[in-house]
Symmetry: C2
Subunit: 196 residues, 2 copies
């Protein structure tokens, strides 16, 4: 499209980012080359660095540069509770609440048979080994509350319960700060069923 | 936020892209590291390559790796007509119509005093020299039809007319395929005034 091969190559490469189409990629390339060349160099180095050094934690499967991440190595964490999340971003959201002091297992995805993501891809076997290591007393399922997240939680829950583990799920209910009038009916029904 | 410094660095670097906030950057970093490491390496190389080699065409100011872009060097182009556009993406849109065989001048922006973009930043002096080189008979202003684009067109138009050049502007009117009922009133008013 342009009069520069390396500009075209850059636009094509930017399109590999999720949610970025041709127009966004053009806008990004234009911005970097016209106004932020230093940003382009910084991003280039960061990508090279991360693609080369980031691997999965041997215990919880999250991204880390070391063999085991520092959350798993932290002796102050409560090893009797294991929280199962879909992505490192979900883990980060839970961490920021400050309400959980246990350990994590990061599935790095969710069950999605149509996309070819089965129990093997989300590391179900590894999770089983981790949960049955003797230290874990409770597994908290914190997958998302959409169809795929619920299905994933169901499959994991069945597998863990068959080994006699205590499995819980994050509570469904009315979000903090909301008014009942504007909350969807499914959520209210769940909040009613799970009242305490 | 995460348990990996190079992942954090990558997320921060991705946030320098226009339109990318923290959540999008996390999603992009996660996607690249979990599903498309090759994409991360390709993008890293493309950024490094483009940031190092892409420069501005000495004649039309667009992005190119050579000193002069191949549109400017093409002897089949009509050198008597010069089309002024804001960005290479706009130039590409005009090229794809196949309706223009002249040459271009790319402003690489538009006048926007609040952002510190003045006549110098859009290369007005260079455009003046280019338009008064003796070959150019008509300058077609194809800046955008928003407030800043119109202001830019006005300033350029006044400067060129004072040197006795023939200046035209892309026609304003009803878009092809649209129904009058749904076209905004300003556009219909312009289409009426510019009827032919």
């Amino acid at each position: 499209m342009s009069s520069s091969d390396s500009l075209d190559a850059l636009i094509q490469a930017l399109r590999r980012l999720p949610g970025v189409g041709l127009k966004s990629a053009q806008r990004m390339a234009f911005h970097l080359l016209q106004r932020d060349r230093e940003g382009a160099r910084v991003l280039s180095r960061a990508l090279h660095e991360a693609a080369g050094s980031v691997q999965h934690c041997a215990r919880c499967h999250t991204f880390t540069e070391a063999g085991v991440c520092h959350t798993c190595l932290d002796p102050k964490r409560d090893a009797t509770r294991l929280c199962v999340v879909e992505t490192p971003a979900d883990q980060s959201a839970l961490e920021r609440t400050g309400a959980f002091k246990g350990l994590y297992f990061v599935l790095m995805g969710r069950l999605s048979p149509l996309d070819g993501v089965g129990p093997k891809e989300i590391g179900l076997q590894k999770l089983m080994e981790r949960a049955t290591n003797g230290a874990v007393q409770e597994v908290i399922l914190a997958t998302n509350f959409n169809a795929e997240g619920e299905a994933t939680a169901h499959v994991i829950s069945e597998a863990l319960k068959s080994r006699g583990l205590h499995v819980t799920r994050l509570a469904r209910g009315v979000p903090v700060g909301s008014e009942l009038e504007y909350v969807d009916l499914g959520t209210i029904a769940h909040a009613l069923a799970d009242r305490r």
